[in-house]
């Protein structure tokens, strides 16, 4: 009765958006649409993942991403367990693979992993038969964040293709920036980055992005700004002289936005440092879609869980045979 999904190529895991086709990314975003409605119901639960066990394995602190995944899992009817590095055997020196194998021995179905090391999600995905979803690994990727950013952009501007999106701030340390670059480019958007020279990765032009070193130029150019959080520890490690100076030179302020040739859409992955990378008036202003991003995050994660659960044909089975 339902037609099969065209050209869909999501495997066992979602580690990153790099290399995913336009059809696959569009397919995930389209799948997220009907999931928005579930969170508006009186009873916010569907039984599609009933009986599945999902482990949220968070080796780095996270509030929004972990809770968003947990809501998504619970609204699909799955059983969830949260593990954070503090208070677990990780502090006793257990390796990532041993932790995962022990979880496997308790018969889990999916793992959402957040880890400080780039490549941790891929490493785990290659070693366990469960579906692995990357909830952010080091400076590599944060695919579900980029997906919710794109869903929000598509909601408010009606399309992704041809949009000009500028990622602003600490690009060099940002997995959100990388995932956004890969995803937006796959969907035909133009991407730029803007920030202090020492926070823009050397050679990023090789990814096909423009670079701006003045926020005014970025605002002049862009349809949407994705403003990254300035991680405060960067100041202590000498990347920027002071928070106040950063705000003065690179802050997204109301005064700067008023000079824009269009109503620039403002995204921010959170948590926000008000008055540092972005002013309070902008956060709470009419061009901000920061809270819709959070709402869409649950829908996008529901879509990813739905699409991966059980795996693509042969995906999980093949991995099981390899590990046997």
């Amino acid at each position: 009765m339902n037609e099969p999904r065209p050209e869909f190529e999501l495997g066992k895991d979602l580690v990153g958006l790099e290399g995913l086709s336009r059809a696959t990314i569009t397919g995930i975003l389209d799948t997220a649409e009907p999931f928005k409605e579930i969170s508006e119901r009186a009873i916010k639960k569907v039984p599609v993942l009933r009986g599945k066990t999902i482990v949220n394995l968070f080796f780095e602190p996270s509030t929004r991403t972990r809770i968003s995944f947990e809501f998504a899992e619970k609204r699909l009817g799955a059983d969830t367990v949260n593990i954070s590095s503090s208070g677990s055997s990780v502090v006793k020196g257990e390796t990532l693979v041993d932790t995962a194998r022990n979880l496997e021995a308790m018969r889990i179905d999916m793992v959402v992993i957040r880890h400080g090391s780039s490549g941790a999600a891929r490493f785990l995905a290659d070693r366990i038969p469960s579906n692995v979803i990357n909830g952010g690994d080091g400076q590599h990727e944060h695919p579900t964040q980029a997906l919710l950013d794109m869903l929000t952009l598509r909601d408010c501007l009606g399309r992704i293709e041809g949009l000009k999106v500028c990622v602003v701030g600490d690009v060099v340390h940002s997995r959100v920036a990388r995932s956004n670059i890969f995803g937006l480019q796959a969907l035909g958007a133009e991407v730029a980055v803007c920030g202090p020279r020492n926070l823009i990765p050397y050679g990023i032009e090789g990814l096909g992005v423009q670079t701006f070193y003045h926020i005014e130029d970025a605002i002049e150019w862009a349809d949407a700004l994705n403003v990254l959080r300035l991680q405060l520890e960067r100041m202590e490690t000498g990347f920027i002289p002071s928070l106040r100076e950063y705000n003065r030179v690179f802050g997204v302020t109301q005064a700067r936005l008023e000079k824009a040739p269009r109503d620039t859409v403002i995204l921010h992955p959170g948590p926000i440092n008000r008055g540092v990378e972005i002013d309070s008036a902008v956060v709470d202003g009419p061009q901000s879609v920061i809270l819709p991003q959070v709402t869409n995050g649950v829908a996008v994660r529901m879509a990813v869980l739905y699409l991966l659960a059980g795996g693509a044909p042969g995906g999980a089975e093949a991995a099981k045979q390899e590990s046997a």
Binding site: N2, P34, I38, I43, Y306
Partner: protein, 184 residues
């Protein structure tokens, strides 16, 4: 060798329209319409529900709220289907508590879709009464489900299936019986 299926026309466009008019009359006479809501099951049920709602509105002068259900996430064979099916729109206009809800679908067969629809509907509230209206009942039930309003009852042989076509999706309005041709 051609492997064209044998199709038998059971109802043409005007036949379907007559059946729908009768169903609309049955629904109108079968209970109160002040608190009536029609809910179509994705996809062809949605189109049929819209047609029934407009027929009832024409006859009674009253707007009939109409919603849609996609039961994919409530299927009992979800573990067996891959890749994941596309999910359609579920939209229930307003609160269904205390209403008379008529579920509309194109073909009634195993009853599993209706069971899923009843489970999903319960997540939106508690209607006063739920009825089932189908354009074609082809038998072959695997669950104790029966329709209150039936457009056409069809005797179906081994391997045959009943297809409902609606203009919005299939460019015509009809009910046909499709028999797979013998191989070779």
């Amino acid at each position: 060798m051609s492997t064209r299926d044998m199709t038998t026309l059971l109802l043409d466009g005007s036949g379907v329209e007559r059946a729908l008019s009768r169903l609309a009359r049955e629904i109108t006479e079968g209970g109160a319409i002040e608190d009536l809501m029609l809910v179509g099951i994705h996809r062809r049920g949605v189109e049929l529900a819209a047609r029934l709602a407009s027929l009832i509105s024409q006859a009674t002068g009253r707007e009939i709220p109409t919603g849609s259900l996609d039961i994919t996430l409530y299927r009992d064979d979800f573990d067996q289907i891959s890749p994941r099916p596309v999910i359609g729109v579920t939209e229930i206009p307003g609160n269904i508590n205390g209403l008379r809800v008529v579920i509309v679908d194109d073909v009634l067969y195993t009853g599993r879709t209706v069971k899923a629809a009843l489970t999903e509907l319960a997540d939106f509230g508690r209607p006063r009464r739920v009825e089932l209206c189908v354009l074609a009942d082809r038998g072959g039930r695997e669950l104790p489900v029966q329709a209150d309003h039936v457009g056409l009852t069809v005797e179906v042989g081994e391997g045959e299936r009943v297809e409902v076509r609606v203009p919005e999706l299939d460019d015509e309005l009809s009910v046909t019986l499709v028999a797979p041709s013998e191989a070779g």
